[in-house]
Amino acid sequence: MAHAPEPDPAASGLGDERPKWDNKAQYLLSCIGFAVGLGNIWRFPYLCQTYGGGAFLIPYVIALVFEGIPIFHVELAIGQRLRKGSVGVWTAISPYLSGVGLGCVTLSFLISLYYNTIVAWVLWYLLNSFQHPLPWSSCPPDLNRTGFVEECQGSSAVSYFWYRQTLNITADINDSGSIQWWLLICLAASWAVVYMCVIRGIETTGKVIYFTALFPYLVLTIFLIRGLTLPGATKGLIYLFTPNMHILQNPRVWLDAATQIFFSLSLAFGGHIAFASYNSPRNDCQKDAVVIALVNSMTSLYASIAVFSVLGFKATNDYEHCLDRNILSLINEFDFPEQSISRDDYPAVLMHLNATWPKRVAQLPLKACLLEDFLDKSASGPGLAFIVFTETVLHMPGAPVWAVLFFGMLFTLGLSTMFGTVEAVITPLLDVGVLPRWVPKEALTGLVCLVCFLSATCFTLQSGNYWLEIFDNFAASLNLLMLAFLEVVGVVYVYGMKRFCDDIAWMTGRRPSPYWRLTWRVVSPLLLLTIFVAYIILLFWKPLSYKAWNPKYELFPSRQEKLYPGWVRAACVLLSLLPVLWVPVAALAQLLTRRRWTWRDRDARPDTDMRLDTDTRPDTDTRPDTDTR
């Protein structure tokens, strides 16, 4: 055995024993809950449908095997071996790399701000689902009650409820507007629920996770069964899974597959490191990594089947309504008896009437109804949940029940991801010991949640949705890619492949196979670098713009494309750079501190360099990478 088992380094830091998971199931469910989030429901099905259905699974699986699982294994392994949060782990690997840990903490903080705002929106919809008829089913009447509110009439009741009655959005990002009190209290409630669940760390999270991680699967199954029995479901599924192999020639598909698997597994947050650090050191993290990654991908697939059977129903419903409206126009114009034209007879009748009364037919507002057009109207992100799905639910019998189930599922999905994100912030803070030892853990957790809540109030402004998109596009994506790249490179080339393999052998009982070593050394870093470069090119290819909801726009209800003003663009750049800036700053700080100590001690004592290392392994810096395999 290469290394004797070392005493628990955390024991000296905390005084008490490091908290442990009650059982393996809690740990697995926490990691699965963290990985499975809102993106599995509203991003993967959209990608699957846009990129040629079944064909998309090919780049997706390749990305999973060569990028997702290897990086995931690295995170679990270092967390479990070094038994600290992200800051402690990276300081242990190399003091010069402590910036990676700090970057992860900052990034998790920023992401938790806007992610919990989305959870607050979901909570708002959930609370509004307990009534019949649902509030988004009809437009409110205008002031003199002769018609509906103009904005609602121009778009749709569902869009009006989302943009006006929920967000009360302004037409421009410069116009911040006021804080919407109902969103603020929903945000407070979301943070209160998060606080209640992470108040004592994994002790409380471990109990709640049984519900929050398993409830979504129950609801997905219910929706799947219900969705498959709805008319038109099979059309949606066929449309989703019909493979279009030609689409694989488009490099964008591969980029999106790699990006999706990366964000879907919630890598580089530091959350998996934190969760793994509470494991016993002799745990098979290799098997865990493979299992959790596979469960995450299976969930995405399962969710997309459920989502698309429901969306197929919606498309069929919309198509039939379109036909019915046309038929009604014809019947009203020519005074035919009611229900005299069936949907199947419509084309023939229309042709006949067009031949006999072309002028009268021409002035009717007839729309072309094609089922493919309705199936094509896909949506991703909040648009899927808050507009498309809410509208679909209206057409299902017993609408409030389905709305409650759907938003309850989204709420628990978001919550379980929030646990991991908040834990990624709290665990390093506990390890580093920012607060004195006599301050209880509940106070630290409460402080973190309070600071996050107060910072996130900016998203409850009327322009909050625009800022949320900025955070999502700029703060999250680029930084995660960069930090993950530094993680893999740091472990493989700084920590040392040989040492890392020895650690894994000690933990799991077998050395990593060549597949692992190859992907860690070459494939994953290369893939990450490619994705990062491609992402930057795509992001800054055209001037940064956003889509605004402007009722006064000529093409309303289409969203108006506007450019970001200068100060917002500066904020975007800042958000993209801030977390990663920790890496060079921390490395520089460490360098200067070392220099100062060496100079100071050179005057006092000649050979005290070795005692100044702050990590647990005394030979971190001087040992070169000796892996010759």
């Binding site: 307990f130 009650r145 409380t204």
Partner: protein, 247 residues
Amino acid sequence: MAKADLSAAWIFFFLTLPCVFHPERMLWLLFFLVSAIHAELCQPGAENAFKVRLSIRTALGDKAYAWDTNEEYLFKAMVAFSMRKVPNREATEISHVLLCNVTQRVSFWFVVTDPSKNHTLPAVEVQSAIRMNKNRINNAFFLNDQTLEFLKIPSTLAPPMDPSVPIWIIIFGVIFCIVIVAIALLILSGIWQRRRKNKEPSEVDDAEDKCENMITIENGIPSDPLDMKGGHINDAFMTEDERLTPL
């Protein structure tokens, strides 16, 4: 238009007067006269005329009734009833309401005439009367605003059913209170646990403190005193795999 036909009828009357001074034929003439006038007052697109459209089968499905003259009579009665509620029009009778151009769609046009049956009532009056009583008219036919349409008369939309306290606030209050109570319980139980932990080892701690204070320094090197904590595991003899079976 009405006057022209009226005069034509009169001419016809005078022409036939000498040879047709018969009570029955007089009645027939009068009937033609009246229907001619009525036909002119109620026409698609006529002044002060409104088109009505019913969608009975859409509303009632299997229980749909057929639209016949009796239903038309009920309709006339409802319109007359609505007009009687307008001040100055309390004398409106069913015969003052004229229907025409009934189609299979079920749609038709109607006008309301004044007692002299020569003029139609202004559209504005009819419109406001119908609007005020739309609900009653709907209920008489088991229809609603979407299935009984008066084109050109917009219906007053029902006011939104706003309860005094929106439902979502009630549910929010319940959930929030539960969460706050749970947080308080967790914090309190944490404090109790810590107090219990502090009380128990406090006696043992005092003894340990006394021992630690007695660290003697010999030859400039601190030496540990006798260990008072009890049995200690000697790492030299403890191995990973216990090959020896425990006693």
